[in-house]
């Protein structure tokens, strides 16, 4: 694409964000945005950028105003601050004179600022349809499988004397991630709620037995624990769990097991609330497939900001994640039990400032495929 074309596109994006398009043009542009992810991404990114610019400008003007008020009030003796003496006063007045033009111009800009913030309040169109939980159903024909399993069980009972690793017929596969070094792990409640046996697999393919510690079906959060002598506990996880919520348009990434291989996905935070305004969750724009359920969503600092949980069936890119603060709620619940009283979940990430490749390298050992029968 040549420069002229790009200048035109950016120009359109800016006019769209500022609300300067006429209704027809706006409609056309919104359609373009829906069908062209690159344009959509540009709008989100540029909105974020303009917001940052505006905030920068606002704050800089306010700082200038504060300086002037300070000097003015102490000149008049209305506050007990040190007064400026002769030379400083001349410098101050000179600076003030120079600033007048800038301030006057910025006042005219305030209306524009207000307009640009309106973009955020465009409400999403209600989309009929449902959301699908993103765990993979490994056996669709469950009845058939159950029958089969009965037979298998009978056969197995006969041969299972020396069989330590019993075979499990998995029905669901999803993702989970450690929240402490001793094997406590978070996944979605819908992944494990009907499972009797749970097994988790790391990126190296090693498998460990696990059991459910806590199920919160309402919030769709489950804590499971690896219970396997093969599992070696780690001193500290590289990532922390974020306590505060994330800003719209912040870049995020996910790791999960939509296939038998760990898959990295990149996107951004699109809304602070989830499906139909659900406040437990948030909406993210990231590629997700069945199997991504229960996977961690990271911000650029390498903090877990959510648990990927579901996707809107009609819109591939609308994915929902449970906000990370509910991890703390679930952990607080299990702390009431003596066995878990000392569980510590870190909020500190040691990944800040690293590039994505390094971050993912450090994180991937702690993300597991979760399978249940």
């Amino acid at each position: 694409m040549n420069d002229n074309n790009e200048i035109m596109i950016l120009d359109a994006v800016e006019r769209y964000i500022r609300g300067e398009m006429n209704p027809d043009e706006r409609l056309y542009f919104e359609n373009l945005r829906k069908t062209n992810p690159a344009i959509d991404q540009l709008v989100v990114e540029h909105t974020l950028f303009l917001q940052q610019m505006n905030q920068f400008g606002e704050r800089r003007n306010f700082k200038t105003a504060l300086q002037e008020v300070h000097t003015g009030l102490s000149e008049q003796g209305k506050i007990h601050a040190d007064k400026l003496n002769g030379k400083a006063r001349v410098v101050y007045l000179w600076k003030r004179y120079r600033r007048v033009a800038a301030i006057a111009a910025s006042i005219a800009g305030i209306t524009t600022i207000a307009l640009s913030s309106l973009v955020w309040s465009i409400s999403p169109k209600p989309i009929k349809g449902d959301i699908e939980k993103l765990s993979r159903d490994l056996f669709v024909q469950q009845v058939k499988t159950d029958l089969l399993q009965n037979d298998l069980d009978k056969v197995k009972k006969k041969n299972s004397k020396a069989d330590a690793d019993k075979t499990i017929e998995y029905k669901t596969a999803a993702t989970g991630f450690l929240i402490d070094g001793k094997g406590l792990m978070i996944t979605n409640a819908h992944v494990v709620k009907n499972s009797r046996n749970i097994r988790v697999f790391n990126v190296k393919g090693q498998q460990f037995n696990a059991f459910v510690v806590k199920l919160d079906v309402l919030r769709d959060v489950a804590i499971i624990k690896i219970d396997d002598s093969k599992f070696k506990s780690v001193a500290a996880l590289p990532y922390g769990i974020a306590k505060s919520s994330t800003d719209i348009a912040e870049p995020i990434f996910t790791l999960g097991f939509p296939r038998d291989e760990i898959v990295y996905g990149e996107g951004y935070m699109s809304a602070r609330t989830g499906y139909k305004g659900d406040t437990l969750s948030c909406q993210i724009a990231v590629p997700a497939n069945p199997g991504n359920s229960g996977g961690p969503v990271f911000n650029h600092k390498g903090e877990v900001i959510g648990i990927l949980s579901a996707r809107q069936t009609q819109a591939e890119e609308a994915v929902f994640a449970i906000q990370s603060k509910y991890i703390f709620n679930a952990v607080d619940e299990i702390k009431k039990n003596d066995e878990y009283r000392n569980v510590k979940v870190s909020t500190r990430s040691t990944l800040t400032g690293m590039n994505k490749v390094e971050q993912v390298k450090k994180i991937q050992d702690y993300v597991f495929m979760v399978k249940g029968d």
Partner: protein
């Protein structure tokens, strides 16, 4: 007007950059914060910095639109200043304790938000600063002073608005690249 009504009007004024409101809040709270800082190992300059920082916190909260103050402005400004000063003391590993705890509201989250915004502000400041001229002035004229392209073309000596636009586009791409590199790496210097 009731006390509450006055305070609400002040906050509205603050949000709209009304100089009178800024002055009133400044006048009514400055001495209190200065006393706090000076009584706790600070100088008059520290007091000014901390108080203005607290004013920015209040300003940005007021501007956010969904802000409801459930205590007096005085209490809020005091609490924020106190928290900011405590952090400063602790960073300088000086003795960090402020004896009084009456009339303080919890502001930890607000201060944390503010620190994040501070980082963003510095990021943008650095990014714009590293642009060099004429890019810096050109972008400031368009995005901060909201001048239109004709005006800009005139004052910067471009032959027409189209030329100014092309130049602005090139500058903008550079700025965005610098800014987002820092932004995506979480300010880069930690």
């Amino acid at each position: 007007m009731t006390q509450e009504g006055i305070e609400k009007a002040l906050l509205r004024g603050l949000a709209q950059n009304d100089r009178k409101a800024v002055e009133t809040i400044y006048r009514e709270n400055y001495n209190m914060v200065q006393a706090l800082i000076i009584n706790n190992n600070g100088s008059a300059d520290d007091a000014k910095d901390i108080f203005q920082e607290a004013m920015i916190v209040l300003y940005e909260k007021a501007r956010s639109g969904n802000f409801e103050l459930n205590c007096q402005i005085k209490t809020y400004v005091y609490s924020v200043s106190r928290r900011l000063w405590l952090k400063k003391l602790q960073q300088a590993s000086r003795y960090g304790e402020i004896g009084d705890t009456d009339n303080v509201v919890p502001v930890e989250e607000d201060v944390e938000d503010h620190e994040k915004k501070n980082l963003e502000f510095e990021m943008m400041e650095k990014a714009i600063g590293s642009l060099g001229e004429p890019c810096k002035s050109l972008l400031e004229a368009f995005y901060l002073q909201k001048k239109n392209m004709q005006e800009i073309a005139g004052s910067f000596g471009y032959t027409n608005a189209e030329n100014a636009k092309t130049q602005k586009y090139k500058c903008l791409m550079r700025l965005k690249k610098i800014f987002f590199t820092h932004y995506k790496n979480g300010n880069g210097d930690e």
